[in-house]
């Protein structure tokens, strides 16, 4: 099997690769979003903790 045939997908290249592309997007976004969210939450908590310490001291 050569590479051209592989990408051609027997004439269904558009449908097959669009599906796999969307799947890749969905799988990646669901990994990236929680990573960013975790950073954001920890940052917010750290900032709030610093602020409250300043106010009490």
């Amino acid at each position: 099997m050569n590479l051209n045939d592989f990408f051609h997908m027997g004439g269904y290249a558009f449908y097959v690769w669009t599906s796999y592309g969307i799947a890749l997007f969905v799988l990646l976004i669901n990994v990236i979003l929680p990573i960013l969210q975790r950073k954001k939450i920890l940052g917010n908590i750290a900032r709030a903790a610093r602020r409250s310490r300043r106010n009490t001291v």
Binding site: M1, F6, M9, Y12, S19, I29, V31, R38, K39, I45
Partner: protein
């Protein structure tokens, strides 16, 4: 001792550290299964005698559709556990599953649509399978919207669990829709009691991909659950300590 184990597991702090260890391993196993599934599905498996190469969409469409229902049952089950035993962690798992389940449902619908165009000649038909799967997406979106609409997270989790449990009625409808109604969507080929009518060369990549999706869900739900735990436990000492270290 058994009781003690569950108590420990359900403590947010313990869950946070254990899940931190589990996530990379689950992610690695999932990635390996994905690679194997893609190799056997896109390279090794022969073209279908009727559908040519277009059937290869199945290797993501079917696992995504299975997961859309599996995740719903996990969400409803965890919701019920949260309702009955008031276990915070169950509430966290339930709401974390909702977003991922919605994405799986979206993926199943979109890839099905893209597969339908060359095979059925249409992107969409209002047949029983497609319509009940669309309702599943709306149920997920309803759960997410309801959770965000209520400020108190514990009240929100209880409301969401009830909605999720009511929505369970849709799951057998999706599963049996292809048998109860005359649908354009094909019937089951794998989950039949007699021999599955799918060739081994196609069944292997399908099962590899299904396994990959399941492990993927396992580590992604843990990632989301950790965020939710941090948010809920933000006033505790260990979370503050953790936040200031990073």
């Amino acid at each position: 001792m058994f009781n003690n184990f569950f108590h420990k597991m359900a403590s947010p702090k313990y869950f946070y550290s254990i899940s931190g260890i589990l996530i990379p391993w689950l992610a690695a196993c999932s990635a390996l299964l994905f690679l194997a599934g893609l190799y056997y599905g896109l390279v090794k498996a022969p073209p279908d005698y009727q559908q040519g190469d277009s059937y290869r969409i199945m290797f993501i469409h079917v696992p995504a559709a299975w997961m859309s229902m599996f995740v719903y049952m996990v969400m409803a089950g965890a919701g019920a556990i949260g309702l009955i035993w008031r276990i915070k962690l169950a509430e966290v798992v339930a709401i974390s599953s909702a977003t991922i389940g919605a994405w799986f449902t979206f993926l199943a619908l979109v890839t099905g649509s893209i597969w339908g165009k060359p095979m059925w000649g249409t992107w969409w038909v209002w047949d029983a399978r497609l319509t009940s799967e669309l309702i599943l997406l709306f149920l997920y979106l309803g759960v997410i919207a309801l959770y965000n609409a209520i400020d108190d997270k514990r009240t929100a989790a209880r409301a969401v669990a009830i909605l999720a449990l009511v929505g369970v009625v849709n799951i057998p409808i999706i599963h049996y829709s292809v048998e109860w109604w005359n649908t354009l969507h094909q019937g089951p080929t794998v989950t039949k009691l007699d021999k599955p009518s799918i060739h081994l060369s196609m069944l292997v990549p399908l099962l590899l991909m299904a396994g990959a999706f399941k492990l993927y869900y396992a580590f992604v739900v843990l990632m989301r659950a950790r965020c939710e735990v941090l948010e809920r436990e933000r006033n505790t000492g260990w979370v503050r300590e953790l936040a200031e270290k990073t």
